[in-house]
Structures are given as C-alpha cells and as structure tokens.
Symmetry: C2
C-alpha cells in the first residue's frame, strides 16, 4: 500500500502538531466537522503504523495519540511513560525512556506505560 497525501491526513496531522498533549479521537473530532468518524480512526491507525504517531491506552481503555519524536516505521522508541491527570484528563508524554529488561526468551514488541494521578496544575488547586 502506497500512502497518498490527502487533505484529511494533513488536517489531522496539523491538529496533532498543534497539541501539547496526546489527543483522543474525540478531541480531534471536535475540531473537525467535515471528516467522517471512521476516516479519522483509519488515519490515526495509519500514522501509528507508519511511525508518525504512537498510541497510548488510558485507564478506561480509550486511545490517545501523540506524534513521535524520533521514530521511523522500522525503529520505534516508545519506552517512555505517560501521565494522565484524573482531574483535567490530559495525557502527556514524559521524556525519559525507561529501561525494560525481560526474562530469557521474551521479546518486546511494544510498551504502554501510563501513570494516573494529578498533574502539577490540578494537584495544587
């Protein structure tokens, strides 16, 4: 499958770029009114496949998406933690990569690490 450049993809990419936090489908849909639900999902899945974005699974099973920093389709670097605030519900990527060591014979394909709690803004309020 050779990817094509389309207005829908550009629009969604622009939204992801404009965001300081990882973004849910819901939030993206709110900023768009002319792209179909299913299309948004398909584009986000493509971005993940292509190493443009990565997917974070929240505590409630909901997906969030954030642009990758140094990933390519082949070589991913997603061994970092994420944080979701229980109050403001924002999801952010933490910078530092964590070190994962596996038992013998185990092979890692992906890592999803999410801390829930209260962010600096919400914990002080």
């Amino acid at each position: 499958m050779k990817r094509r450049k389309t207005p829908s993809k550009e629009k969604i990419l622009a939204i992801l770029k404009s965001q300081d936090y990882a973004t849910s489908h819901e939030k993206i849909a709110n900023q768009i009114d002319d792209i179909n639900r299913a299309t948004i999902y398909r584009i986000l899945n493509q971005f993940c496949e292509d190493g443009i974005a990565h997917r974070i699974i929240a505590e409630n099973g909901k997906q969030f998406f954030a642009l990758c920093k140094d990933c390519e389709a082949e070589e991913h670097h997603h061994n970092h933690l994420h944080f979701q605030c229980n109050t403001c519900e924002k999801v952010e990527c933490f910078e530092s990569e964590i070190n994962i060591s596996l038992p013998n014979g185990y092979v890692i394909e992906n890592f999803n690490g999410l801390i829930n709690g209260f962010c600096n803004l919400c914990s002080s309020a």
Copy 2:
C-alpha cells in the same frame, strides 16, 4: 458499604486464585454459567476497590485481573510491569517493582504498565 460474603464472590475469587496469569472477564465467564455478566463485572470491580485484585488494561483496552500479593485497600503496590503475549494472549505480572519518579507537583494514584511481545514459549516456536 459493608461487604457481604456470597457464593458468587467466592467462586470468582477461587477462579482468580487458580490462575497463573491475569484473567479477563471473558475467561472467567467461560468457567461459570450461573452468574450474570454484570455481576461478574461488579464483583471484579469490588475486588479492585478492596485491594484484593488489580486491573491491567491491555493494548486493545480489554481488562485483565490478577490477585494482589501484598496490597491492602489503603496501601497498594502495583508498580510492576505486565506482559502480554501477542500469540497466546496471556497476561502475566512481572515481579520487580519499577521505580517511578515524577516531576514536581505531580501525584501518582495508579500505574498501568504493559509490555506486548512474545513470551518465552511462543517466541521459540
């Protein structure tokens, strides 16, 4: 709410105890035919609230449950990683607690860490 001891709870607890791996609602339901879907969910949620079990969110958003080792309702110790095999789909708890350090002002409430990949049995096959 004072908890009551019921046959349903005992049955589900026994299933969790008999399992070497974290268990999904689906798998529990397969071993039971006289307890309602909703009841199973409610009991599992109770176990989590009471510090009897903890919940793992898989990559597809599905919930898995494992008995806690040293937790009480107040003091939880769930800073360990989990591993789900992409082939056999089993979810297991890794022993070692990981060290989580947060930026200033952040407060942790819960941690969900899941590695996906291939377990020792499936990677060699």
